[in-house]
């Protein structure tokens, strides 16, 4: 089964990458952009989707500073 994990910096923690992107966009003519945050995407095929959350807790994310969200996709790609 295909799983997708979205990992984001926790709200309230300064995200310098997000700030840099947010400041770059107006220079390219994209106005009205705010709240930019840059995270990571991890995709994996797993036999047991129930293992994905423990994987996030232990390795894929650092729950101290990051939030994660697991999506289980239909079928294998």
């Amino acid at each position: 089964m295909r799983a997708r994990v979205l990992i984001r910096p926790k709200a309230g923690i300064l995200d310098p990458q997000g700030v840099a992107v947010e400041r770059a966009l107006p220079a390219l003519g994209f106005a009205g952009v705010s709240g930019v945050h840059v995270g990571r995407l991890v995709e994996l095929d797993v036999e047991d989707p129930a293992q994905v959350a423990p994987m996030c807790e232990k390795l894929l994310a650092n729950p101290l500073v990051e939030d994660y969200e697991v999506e289980i996709l239909d079928g294998s790609s």
Partner: protein, 224 residues
């Protein structure tokens, strides 16, 4: 006494750490794939880019066989010093509180920093004098110390904050200007700046030796 200096794929400061340790005692390199700490009295987890910093700095190194032994060693009260990437590894291993995030200035920054020794009643700072300020280089992209509010209050209360960036020196945006912290038991210590690069007059400062000398005094039971 003998230091054991870990070496991961991607470490780059293990040789300087070895050289600094050898100024105060014996030292040998310990490959990450081996569990044997070879009778070391103190372990140094060195700087660099272990496992390419993949995923997060220190996230993968933390699960190496050598680190499993270091976690057990620390649990038994063994002395562990983490420098830069080593600090990140120790935080990932939950041997130290908090985490290291991307520098607030968004840059890899390499500069000499001034550090205030705010707790000299530790295994790692007992050779320092009262109010001593150490001049040591720092070089990193991921050095912004962060801990949740309650953790931060707890480590401030218990004296676990050992080193702070002096006024105007906190380029990475660390909370409370924290440059180095120890665990509650006091036997594990991590810092972002590099004491092992400040051990010879040739490179401008020998202040980093204080940390290694403190460890030697602690291991040998010398009162200062």
């Amino acid at each position: 006494m003998k230091f054991g200096v870990l070496q991961f794929p991607g470490s780059c400061d293990e040789v300087d750490a070895l050289g600094a340790a050898r100024r105060v005692g014996d030292a040998e390199l310990l490959w990450h794939g081996a569990r044997d700490l070879k009778g070391a009295d103190a372990i140094v987890v060195p700087g660099g880019f272990s496992y390419g910093d993949y995923l997060r700095a220190g996230a993968i190194a933390r699960f190496s066989p050598a680190m499993e032994s270091v976690i057990a060693f620390a649990g038994d009260g063994g002395i562990v010093l983490g420098i830069c990437n080593g600090f990140q590894v120790l935080c990932e291993a939950h041997l130290l509180p908090g985490a290291l995030l991307g520098n607030a200035n968004r840059r890899f920054t390499f500069r000499q920093v001034e550090l205030d020794v705010v707790n000299r009643d530790t295994i790692f700072t007992r050779a320092c004098t009262a109010g001593e300020r150490l001049s040591v280089p720092a070089k990193h992209s991921w050095g912004r110390y962060y801990a949740a509010e309650d953790t931060l209050a707890a480590i401030e209360r218990s004296g676990q904050v050992v080193l702070r960036y002096a006024a105007g020196e906190n380029f990475n945006g660390s909370l409370n200007d924290i440059a180095g912290v120890c665990n509650e038991a006091g036997n594990v210590f991590g810092l972002m700046p590099h004491p092992e690069h400040a051990v010879d007059e040739l490179t401008g400062s020998t202040d980093g030796l204080r940390i290694f000398e403190s460890i030697r005094l602690s291991v040998e039971g010398v009162r200062v």
